[in-house]
């Protein structure tokens, strides 16, 4: 659970606070536990929710936003990396995303929640979860060096035309 809190909050101090809140609320909510679910699954959700609550409270305060990673960011040379290095770089790349993209991706792709579950936990529409994931994954694909020619794909002028063609039918928002 420490690992879950740490990757959700990013800051150890904040992760420790969230974990503490999670366990206290787990104690208080013990009666709501349903025997059909695993205790660890139940606890995992409580920890993630405690983290998300803290992030929401933090966002309610004026803060300096994290800089968005620009298209000129160097991409990763994946050939010479060990698994451990890869994970570190993936974690750093994920951490570089704006929170509105990082959290849906964390819930779906790292923690394994469904789109519907993530939407409920984040309090946003399912379409919004998907589109924010799409934006974030596109950035990560560039940062992690998966795209063969990231500069050609990034910020291409046709993007606006394509987006304009799709936007009227796109549910939620993602920018």
């Amino acid at each position: 659970m420490w690992a879950v809190a740490l990757r959700t909050m990013r800051d150890p101090e904040e992760a420790a606070d969230a974990l503490q809140e999670a366990f206290i609320s787990a104690f208080r909510a013990a009666a709501s536990f349903r025997a059909e679910s695993q205790v660890t699954t139940w606890l995992h959700r409580i920890v993630v929710n405690a983290c998300l609550d803290r992030i929401r409270r933090r966002q309610a305060r004026p803060t300096v936003p994290l800089p968005e990673t620009g298209p000129g960011e160097p991409v990763v040379d994946r050939d010479a990396m060990s698994d451990r290095e890869t994970r570190l770089i993936v974690a750093e790349a994920l951490a570089s995303l704006p929170e509105e993209q990082r959290l849906p991706i964390l819930l779906l792709d790292v923690e394994g929640y469904s789109v519907a579950e993530a939407a409920r936990m984040l309090g946003i529409a399912e379409g919004t979860v998907k589109s924010r994931c799409a934006r974030g994954r596109a950035k990560l694909a560039k940062l992690l060096g998966h795209l063969r020619n990231p500069s050609a794909d990034a910020n291409v002028p046709v993007e606006q035309a394509d987006a304009a063609r799709i936007r009227p039918t796109r549910r939620g928002e993602g920018r």
């Binding site: 420490w2 104690f27 013990a30 009666a31 025997a35 792709d109 994954r137 394509d162 799709i166 039918t169």
Partner: protein, 273 residues
């Protein structure tokens, strides 16, 4: 630079942007639009490569979820320990979901449990189970149950991840202190030889092929031994087996053998225990 004309295929349409492909990949695009886009994707090798890149990105992200838990820094573990302790004591003082020594709860006759008010029993059971799970999943914070006692210095020592010499514990402490210390450790000491370990497990009535989820050297009531944490097949329930250095297929050399944690039968699946 990618050849834009070539990427657009033969229809003369512009190439699909990364954003559009990411939307398609994430299921954002409505079905009717997606149906129009897929033929273009299939005709465009670069678009296919972009979708593969997005797949690879998801694989990378999934890998983050499998990273072994890092050690929780000592100061946070101590703080969490204190907070949970305070909550447990406050609840005990208020008479809400009294927290009991897990071992004492386990030793209580089953008939007495069955006669207890089911709601109260369920709360009690889960609180006890939760304490067990908390200790297990944090692996650093030592949950102290009233009356059981623990040594704060062991919490600090474990949380910092420092290599432990032989930890001295008494039988009463084994359940709470040793579990939090031993999980994920692989210090088999005299049982480092796999055949000897298998023989020792068998001599103690355990599955010789199972791999303990924790092993460490301890000093139990003044006797050196190896603490083996074994799963029981029951949720959040562990068997703590402590054996002496001579444990083998022909000598169980049992110093302790107890089951801790778990969600009692009142709220868990049927059990054969």
């Amino acid at each position: 630079m990618t050849d834009m004309q070539q990427r657009g295929g033969t229809s003369g349409e512009p190439p699909l942007s990364l954003d559009v492909l990411a939307d398609l990949h994430a299921g954002v695009v409505p079905d009717d639009v997606a149906a129009r886009l897929w033929p273009r994707v299939r005709a465009d090798p670069d678009a296919g490569a972009t979708l593969a890149a997005l797949d690879a990105t998801r694989v990378d992200l999934a890998g983050l979820g499998n990273v072994p838990a890092p050690a929780m820094p000592a100061q946070f573990a101590a703080r969490l320990d204190a907070a949970i302790n305070a909550e447990v004591r406050a609840r005990a003082a208020a008479g809400v979901a009294p927290v009991v020594d897990l071992n004492a709860a386990r030793d209580r006759p089953r008939r007495a449990r069955a006669n207890r008010d089911p709601r109260k029993s369920r709360r009690l059971a889960l609180t006890a189970g939760l304490v067990g799970v908390a200790a297990a999943v944090i692996g650093a914070a030592i949950v102290v149950l009233p009356g059981l006692g623990s040594n704060p210095s062991t919490s600090q020592q474990n949380a910092g991840g420092a290599p432990s010499s032989q930890l001295s514990v008494n039988s009463g402490q084994l359940g709470s202190v040793a579990l939090a210390q031993a999980l994920h450790k692989s210090d088999y000491g005299p049982l480092s030889n796999p055949p000897q370990l298998a023989g020792c497990l068998k001599a103690n009535g355990q599955d010789p092929n199972q791999k303990p989820i924790g092993a460490m050297q301890i000093n139990l009531d003044g006797k050196p031994g190896t603490l083996l944490v074994l799963t029981t097949g029951q949720l959040a329930q562990y068997r703590l087996l402590v054996v002496g250095p001579t444990c083998s297929a022909t000598s169980p050399s049992t110093l302790a053998n107890q089951v801790i944690g778990g969600i009692p039968t009142s709220i868990s699946a049927p059990t054969t225990h």
